[in-house]
Amino acid sequence: MANSSIVLRESRYHHIKAMLARLRLDSSARLVVLVDKDGQQIAVHGELGDLDTTSLASLAAGNVAATGGMAKLIGENEFPTLSHEGEKESIHICVIGRVLLLVVFDDRSSLGLVKLRSKQISHEIAKTFAEIEEESTATAGALPFAGITDDEIDSLFSPA
């Protein structure tokens, strides 16, 4: 396959969660989500309530992909940030390499503050993901699924 898998180890996951928590606090945001550009949710921190973050991640990736397509049509490589302002709730999305940093905020914060704080943390996220990608490539053969059997795969499709 053209893209290698992302393998997220526990220590990395906790580091990412800590970064998201810091961003949420610094930007007075309601919720911060890190999403892969293909639409997979990587980590989330904040007031989730009954928010469907899986759908949010998929739609955010679709949104970035669509605006990225528009950017190319007008001669830009991509639009690195996207903002959607609602009456009460707003969303700011920052494209950082192959991941998207999505911040949901309300009137406790402002777009300017969210943009500033997102930009400040984006270098750290980019560095962390570069390291995760290196680790993912290096450990591909050592994944627990390397020895997965046909029976184990078949068992997923057997009636319980």
Partner: protein, 194 residues
């Protein structure tokens, strides 16, 4: 692109349903959604036009079960089939782990099937994928209609690499889960190789 999260012990894979307009891609997803227990699925998101045609994509997350202590989650997407949505159709293929090509078995849709399959191969290539190396299933849909092309003839035209071919009537659910299983198995088998 598979995403493996050791902290939440999850494997996430992306499967895309591709095919010409009105071939039944959304109907496949709708049937899977309607037939799956609430705890195994998320919401079915449909970005559709007012006339209920797919505008950008349909999406639903589906959990199949646990293997080696990891939950297996499949993110199922459809593309818009209509020819003029080419730009958005291509975007959905990014990071795909497995593809289902839903062919419309009706005689008058043969050209549309061939055009869409060619378009799939082209679009995959722009991301550096080769259909020959990707988990892939051919579904022959609408087998209940009176004007369908015989199985052998349709397979002869559309089968690319000895991939599993499933006859289906997505509106009643016939063949829908067989198709999903066939592609999901290949995706998991691919994980073993990676």
């Amino acid at each position: 692109m598979t995403f493996i999260n050791y902290a939440s012990r999850e494997i996430n894979c992306k499967i895309v349903y591709y095919g010409p307009g009105l071939c039944g891609k959304t109907t496949n997803l709708q049937f899977i959604y309607d037939s799956t227990a609430p705890q195994a699925k998320g919401k079915l998101i449909s970005l559709a036009t007012e006339a209920d045609r797919t505008l950008f994509f349909d999406f639903m997350p589906l959990e199949l079960g646990t293997v080696r202590g990891f939950k297996t989650r499949f993110h199922l997407y459809t593309v818009p089939g209509q020819v003029f949505y080419e730009a958005s159709r291509k975007l959905i293929l990014k990071g795909v782990d497995g593809v289902v090509f839903v062919a419309d078995s009706q005689e008058e849709r043969m050209d549309a099937n061939i055009e869409s399959l060619y378009n799939l191969e082209e679009n995959l290539r722009t991301y550096g994928y080769e259909l020959s190396k990707l988990p892939y299933v051919l579904q022959l849909n609408k087998r209940d209609l009176p004007n369908v092309i015989p199985y052998q003839e349709l397979t002869g035209e559309l089968q690319r690499k000895g991939e599993p071919v499933i006859e289906a009537v997505a509106s009643t659910g016939s063949g829908v889960f067989d198709t999903l299983k066939a592609v999901a198995k290949q995706v998991l088998t691919e994980l073993r190789k990676s």
